[in-house]
Amino acid sequence: MAVKRVRFTFPEELIREPIIYRLGHEFRVITNIRMADVDEHTGWVILELEGDPDEIERSLRWAEAQGVRVDPITGDVVEG
């Protein structure tokens, strides 16, 4: 089991979608919202995901395929 913290950023077209609920149902990961700020145009959520590392990765790739931007919570780690 592993725990991973990521930041989801939602575009306007996904604001009304229950993405995190679906992620928790379609993958064997426990989701825990630690912080969030969502309004009618955009939103971000700091999410803790607990589960098998490969399953977590699959769930994140699924979220990206839905249109969510997934980042490390620290901001970009790769610098120029």
Partner: protein, 414 residues
């Protein structure tokens, strides 16, 4: 000795020991080094600093590590140039350039890495790591080599050979990571958590970012112990932009300069402008972007200090430029042709933004302006190749030269 006392969360102000920590466990806010400013005030003086070495270590008392054990390859104390020619073109008679292209690995990253590496070694780390597409990798590799530490540098697998050489010459372990930018980014964040290495811009970031303050210190000292009226700074993660002002504030706090009224303006490439875009929309929430610009050293789509950069723009009555790739190249050429400084693309962003900010009235002609040129042009030759005046090619005789040069004079472009 250091006057650093603790780490403190910028958001909730929880306090942490001076260890390899970077984010608050409770609110995930960034941690920042706190100093005993009362003790510092009694200890420092202009004379003490002026008697120090011609490197950033002359400001040792303001840094979060023991300078007696510094990993010093000569970073910092770079020239501050009164840019009369560029100033004339832009209508800024009091324009100065802080030329950080002349650092040991030719970028300002030597400042942050010098401090991070020194602190990392103090904390007992043997391995210095980073994920980078250029300048940071060069600097980490060089400092680790000088310190006898092992460098582990992660780079995107498709990075150009020229950029790899600038790191691999120092003998680091280079790891090419296959995948798109976001995947590489996420993996490296995970690696930083999984291994007990000093990842310079992750788990030792509070110390790393303090190195940028030295640009503020130097500018104030080089101006005769005064703060500039206006700074124009390229924004990538936003840390440099915020820390230059912190440096000026600290000098005032310990009584070495008057309280700064410096306006802080930023510079971003239009192809990666999360801060400039939010600023233009008068929003304090930036939206992460997918970078698409020739200014690779500024290509941070999700800047760690983006929010704080926006706060500083607001609080200091600054502005933020956003310039196209063509404008970046023109900025590089303008800087080189007027002041003899060949800067990398980030320098083009700064000069082009400077021009943009003057044109829209955000910089006043009577202000003492300092623009920060953060990296050397030989790192990004591809950006200008093919866009410069071609050479004359001649046979090895006088007649051939005179024919070619005469033709040039005739066209009026000599």
């Amino acid at each position: 000795m250091s006057f650093a006392t603790e780490l403190r969360c910028r958001e909730c102000h929880r306090v942490y020991p001076l260890q390899a920590l970077h984010a608050c466990e409770f609110c995930f806010g960034p941690l920042e080094v706190v100093y005993d400013y009362e003790a510092l005030r009694k200890h420092v003086s202009r004379r003490r600093i002026e008697a120090g070495p011609p490197t950033l270590w002359r400001y040792r008392d303001f840094l979060p590590c023991d300078a007696d054990a510094a990993i010093d390859i000569g970073a910092g104390f770079t020239p501050l140039i009164h840019a009369k020619n560029l100033g004339k073109v832009l209508g800024l008679p009091k324009l100065y350039l802080k030329n950080d292209t002349v650092n040991p690995t030719w970028s300002f990253k030597d400042r942050v890495v010098a401090v991070a590496a020194t602190r990392a070694r103090e904390l007992g780390f043997q391995k210095l790591a980073c994920a980078s597409t250029g300048n940071l990798a060069n600097s980490v590799s060089a400092h680790a080599a000088a310190a006898g530490m092992e460098a582990i540098v992660f780079i995107p697998a498709d990075l150009e050979e020229g950029k790899i050489v600038g790191s691999s010459i120092y003998g680091p372990t280079l790891v090419k990571v296959r995948g798109n930018y976001d995947a590489v980014n996420r993996l490296c964040a995970e690696l930083a958590g999984a291994y007990n290495w000093a990842f310079v811009n992750v788990n030792v970031r509070p110390y790393y970012s303090e190195g940028s303050k030295t640009l503020g210190f130097e500018v104030a000292e080089q101006l005769g112990w005064r703060a500039p009226d206006h700074c124009v700074v390229p924004i990538a993660s936003g840390s440099l932009f915020v820390k230059i002002r912190k440096g000026l504030n600290e000098l005032a706090r310990v009584g070495l300069i008057e309280e700064p009224r410096t306006r802080m303006s930023g510079a971003q490439a239009a192809g990666c402008s999360p801060v400039a875009t939010a600023w233009a929309e008068r929003s304090m929430n930036f939206r992460p972007q997918k970078p698409n610009t020739i200014a690779k050293s500024l290509a941070i789509g999700n800047p760690a200090d983006g929010y704080y950069a926006l706060v500083q723009l607001r609080d200091t009555n600054g502005d933020c430029g956003s310039v196209t790739d063509d404008e970046i190249v023109e900025g590089m050429k303008l800087l080189a042709e007027t002041e003899g400084i060949f800067a990398e693309t980030a320098g083009g962003v700064t000069v082009a933004s400077l021009k943009q900010l003057v044109e829209r009235g955000s910089i006043h002609p009577d202000e003492l302006v300092v623009a920060f040129i953060t990296g050397a042009g030989f790192k990004t030759i591809d950006a200008v190749a093919g866009r410069l005046k071609p050479a004359l090619e001649i046979d090895a005789n006088l007649e051939s030269f005179e024919r070619a040069y005469g033709a040039l004079l005739h066209t009026g472009v000599a």
